[in-house]
């Protein structure tokens, strides 16, 4: 599952095409295909934070386990300024500093297929570039919020340089923003593949049968937690349960059902 957060339509255009996304009717500009979503937030860290949260809520409604699927990849893609990097050069952020609050985040670097750099998020464009820093207006708002919904390793920012000391931000227009992102689409897609491959390490154990249990018996909240762990263990020690076994199905109470499952996983022999 991938959620992409982009500030402007110009920055998003080539990504929408590359990822074959279609516009869907929603509160904010949203483009989706299968398990990939892209939202356009508008400029600034507050909008980035708020709409990242909104997108998380949309994904959560669609999830089988609301609030518990933390293996979602989150990517902020956008343009940034840099003192001396070439226009069109691409980086992932390895340290994100919020210029206003001085809060700092370190997106974990797990073999990123891109060069990395420091990123400072500012509230308004600076007259002077801070040396060795990318400058944007969304990164800190995005990363702080997206980390509430996923693992830090899966929350990353990619920035493409749109302005530098020689070609300052006053030169930026929609055409330039669109162009520098478009010329880096292969690198961005490669980064997305890398992130999604990383997330496959977190593939959950198949306990999809749990919904049948919840229909068949009335489990309390704490019993549901016990049930899920027992089904997980059952899946690992035997194989994923595809249907409720007949002798279990005839049991009347939740306690009896849990006892049956407990016995089935506790009676295995010790062998790895």
């Amino acid at each position: 599952m991938l959620n992409v957060v982009v500030a402007t339509k110009a920055e998003a255009e080539s990504l929408i095409t590359a990822l074959h996304l279609k516009h869907v009717s929603a509160t904010f500009p949203l483009y989706t295909k299968d398990t990939t979503s892209l939202v356009i937030t508008g400029i600034g860290k507050c909008r980035a934070a708020a709409i990242t949260s909104w997108l998380a809520a949309q994904s959560d409604y669609a999830s089988a386990s609301p609030g518990r699927n933390k293996s979602v990849c989150w990517l902020n893609v956008g343009i940034a300024g840099h003192c001396d990097a070439h226009i069109g050069s691409i980086f992932c952020a390895h340290k994100i500093n919020d210029f206003g609050s001085e809060k700092v985040w370190y997106p974990p670097q797990i073999s990123p297929p891109l060069p990395s750099a420091n990123l400072t998020t500012v509230d308004k464009p600076l007259d002077d570039y801070i040396p060795d820093q990318l400058h944007d207006m969304e990164g800190s708002g995005f990363v702080e919020t997206a980390r509430m919904y996923s693992y830090a390793e899966l929350v990353q920012c990619i920035k493409v340089v749109s302005d530098n000391a020689e070609q300052p931000f006053s030169n930026i227009d929609a055409k330039l923003a669109s162009h520098v992102i478009a010329q880096n689409i292969p690198s961005i897609v490669q980064f997305i593949d890398h992130l999604q491959t990383l997330a496959t390490n977190l593939k959950p154990v198949d306990i999809s049968i749990v919904s049948e249990f919840l229909q068949r018996w009335n489990f309390s909240v704490s019993q549901k937690i016990i049930l899920e762990r027992l089904l997980q263990r059952y899946s690992v020690l035997h194989s994923p349960m595809t249907a409720i076994p007949a002798d279990l199905n005839q049991l009347k109470s939740t306690k009896e059902a849990l006892r049956w499952l407990t016995h089935s996983v506790d009676s295995v022999s010790y062998s790895l």
Binding site: Q109, I110, S116, N118, M148, A152, N201, V236
Partner: protein, 329 residues
């Protein structure tokens, strides 16, 4: 290979920081104010980071030497441990570090001198009693030695501290440094083992038993004191045969008469660590087996643990004098 190095501001100009960074010329260096802001930040996933851990170079400010838990030792009256490094290059599925730390990145504290100043004063305070200092509690003592050079420094300091004993606990075969110098009397190189089938299933990235035994043999021939550690014992239905096979492999190569000490302990984990490890590796069979909770510890249960300890003990005394065997609980 390390691809990313976080460097705490306070050690940016430390000579060891420079030395270590020079070993990884293509690594990206990232400054951080305090190592905690990287190592302890929220929402990290240990399993994902274990794919490609970064290195964090930092300064340790206090707590260089700490008392070991009770019943941890090899006969000394005062037992302490110290950790110049947090996290291990290996990936043993039973290891408590996965449950203890939020991050799988390696932290190396570069102010080695402070450790040994405190070790020296701690040893002096025992007034000549037998004091043991255990390395390898929060990391493998030797596996990262080519990068850190910590043990080279430790051996130099311990060679001048006859009242203090050092245990270097490891699963590594990085023994080159130890073979270039004469052994020191107050140091034991202790190798950890589980039987072949357990090692294959659970000890990822760890050198094979054969290679570890060979390393041990070389050290023994060179005159170093050797220790054997069988902790954790992971229960299996073939436990007796597994350990008999392991001991045969070991004692076919090394001389049991000159082994310094042997210790063993059953598999157990603090409950909060276990819960986190299940979340990280829900598909791990070890965690799905029938385990019990007692006194906030998760284990195979008292009776099974006793059976494990007894089996290993009985197999051990076929090779080793009982007086150098130390059970850990």
């Amino acid at each position: 290979m390390i691809q990313t190095i976080y460097i705490e501001e306070s050690v940016r100009d430390h000579p060891r920081t420079r030395e270590i960074c020079e070993r990884f010329p293509s690594a990206t260096q990232i400054d951080c104010e305090k190592y905690n802001s990287v190592f302890n930040s929220n929402s990290q996933n240990f399993r994902l980071q274990k794919q490609q851990p970064s290195l964090i170079l930092a300064h340790k400010h206090k707590g260089y030497v700490l008392p070991t838990p009770p019943d941890y030792g090899i006969g000394g009256s005062h037992n302490y441990y110290f950790s110049h490094m947090l996290n291990c290059v290996y990936d043993c599925r039973y290891c408590f570090l996965q449950g203890m730390y939020r991050s799988a990145n390696y932290v190396v504290f570069v102010n080695y001198e402070d450790y040994f100043d405190q070790i020296e004063s701690t040893a002096k305070a025992t007034n000549g009693d037998d004091a043991w200092f255990f390395s390898g509690y929060d990391c493998d003592s030797l596996a990262f030695e080519p990068v850190t050079g910590f043990m080279r420094y430790a051996l130099d300091r311990f060679s001048r501290m006859p009242g203090a004993n050092l245990e270097i606990r490891t699963k590594s075969t990085q023994i080159r440094e130890l073979l270039t110098q004469p052994p020191i009397e107050n140091c034991v190189i202790a190798f950890s083992f589980t039987p072949e089938n357990i090692s294959q299933s659970l000890e990822h990235r760890v050198p094979s038993i054969k290679k570890r035994v060979l390393a041990m043999k070389k050290l023994q021939n060179h005159g170093w004191k050797i220790g054997l550690r069988f902790d954790p014992i992971v229960h299996s239905k073939t436990l007796e045969a597994d350990y008999r096979g392991l001991f045969t492999t070991i004692f076919d190569s090394i001389d049991p008469n000159t082994v310094h000490s042997v210790s063993y302990g059953a598999f157990r984990l603090p409950k909060p660590f276990f819960k986190k490890m299940v979340t990280l590796y829900p598909e791990e069979k070890l965690f799905a087996l029938p385990l019990t909770e007692h006194d906030s510890q998760v284990s195979f249960g008292e009776a099974t643990e006793e059976q494990c300890r007894s089996t290993v003990h009985q197999e051990l005394i076929k090779f080793i004098d009982e007086c150098i065997i130390f059970p850990c609980s």
